[in-house]
Amino acid sequence: MNSSLLSAEGLSKRYGAVEACKNISFEIQEGEALAIVGESGSGKTTLLHLIAGLMAPHSGRVSYRGRDGVRRDLAEMSEAQRRALMRADWGFVHQDSTKDLRMNVSAGGNIGERLMALGERHYGRIRASAAEWLARVEIAEDRLDDSPLTYSGGMRQRLQIARNLVTSPRLVFMDEPTGGLDVSVQARLLDLIRGLIAEMGLAVVLVTHDLAVARLLSNRILVMKQGEVIESGLTDRVLDDPQAPYTQLLVSSVLAA
């Protein structure tokens, strides 16, 4: 009896002759943080899109256990069900926040959108929730009515996180959430994410090429190379005692500051 939260079985995806994902299987439990690491071309981003239901695999299946306890195959869901899932149960934090944020809508409107989509019709309550979340992601309260166009990159990313977490999702997908940001900004953001994961008991699937980010945020790790999982296990174990040759190469290549 599969009691995992999300389960990927035999996922494969091809782009023409290139096999981006080869027969990949793994599970995520509630409250677990899984990092998928690899270099460019490893297939990690494709894998993330497959398990988030944003892309269909050529073979294999992804199943998710909903809040009602029922396990459903993503491919068998209707568009309406999939979107409802994305709105209430899941979050997706993109590397580029402008992909998710509405740039011509205020921060409050951005955070409140999911609540309004779920039927919240009280302006005062929506605004209060948005303000609360703005504080939680450490953005000053007086920026609530500003458009994200006036925000810095790090602030936009934090706003994107607030927008995704406001409905207390069970599972959050993150694609290089700190990519492209200044190092000092990254540190703050990582700390915020770490805290929120712990506080909210979120399950997280995080794609990153940065092993330090994986170590900080995840307790399990998948190492990918050319569409295959080379090694997997406890994050600190894989990073401190890598068994596979490729993992050893990856770990030894990381420069220490």
Binding site: E79, S106, G108, E113, R121, Y123, R127
Partner: protein
Amino acid sequence: MTSRPYNFAYLDEQTKRMIRRAILKAVAIPGYQVPFASREMPMPYGWGTGGVQVTAAVIGPEDVLKVIDQGADDTTNAVSIRAFFAKTANVATTTETQAATIIQTRHRVPETALTEQQILVYQVPIPEPLRFLEPRETETRTMHALEEYGVMHVKLYEDISRHGHIATTYAYPVRVSGRYVMDPSPIPKFDNPKLADSPALQLFGAGREKRIYAIPPYTKVVSLDFEDHPFERTKFDAACEFCGATDSFLDEVVTDDAGGRMFVCSDTDYCDKRQAARNKDAAE
């Protein structure tokens, strides 16, 4: 050069049938935008081609047509369109709301209550209420199909956060029959309550955007709002200068350079009738 007579109401019969099929679909699914093959009309886009096509499809030789533009029968637009139908359909025309069987309107709903014998045809510029926040047609169609209207309330939220109240004063979005969210065309929000439970058939035509939608008679139409910011009808601080009405939509007219202004009923027919009644009373 001999001039050939136009087909009745300008459009050929097949086109009229196509438009009527679209209208039937629209009536069957209140508030849903039905795509239709909008024709080239002898006026440019933006001048009421959608409304004219709908009227042309439903008008018959016995009909009496009224055309108003911002409530007035005597503006250029209204006069042109009335003349157009007079020439191509040879129908009777009128400025009196009560005498008309078809009323084509740009941006107002008549003050006089309508009856089951009447059809109100609205001219619509942008039919898609979600367009301002979602530019992709593929996406807005999906949103309507899946009833994903959260984004409409985002717009209203923005209004309140910026202005302290919902600042949308015209083209105020409504929910029809509890299902589709619809743009009622740029009528003032003052007119929104008239859309609900009307005995008349209301048809909406957008020529450039190629969409037709409808509100069947006696249909529930609710203006979107928040629990703590409920929809409020506009109230005027003044009465009509000419007829004294306090319950009609008033146009503000600047009378001099010193800032003098007066308020006048936008619905010319309504105003005229009231003035006539007053004069009659005064005479007695």
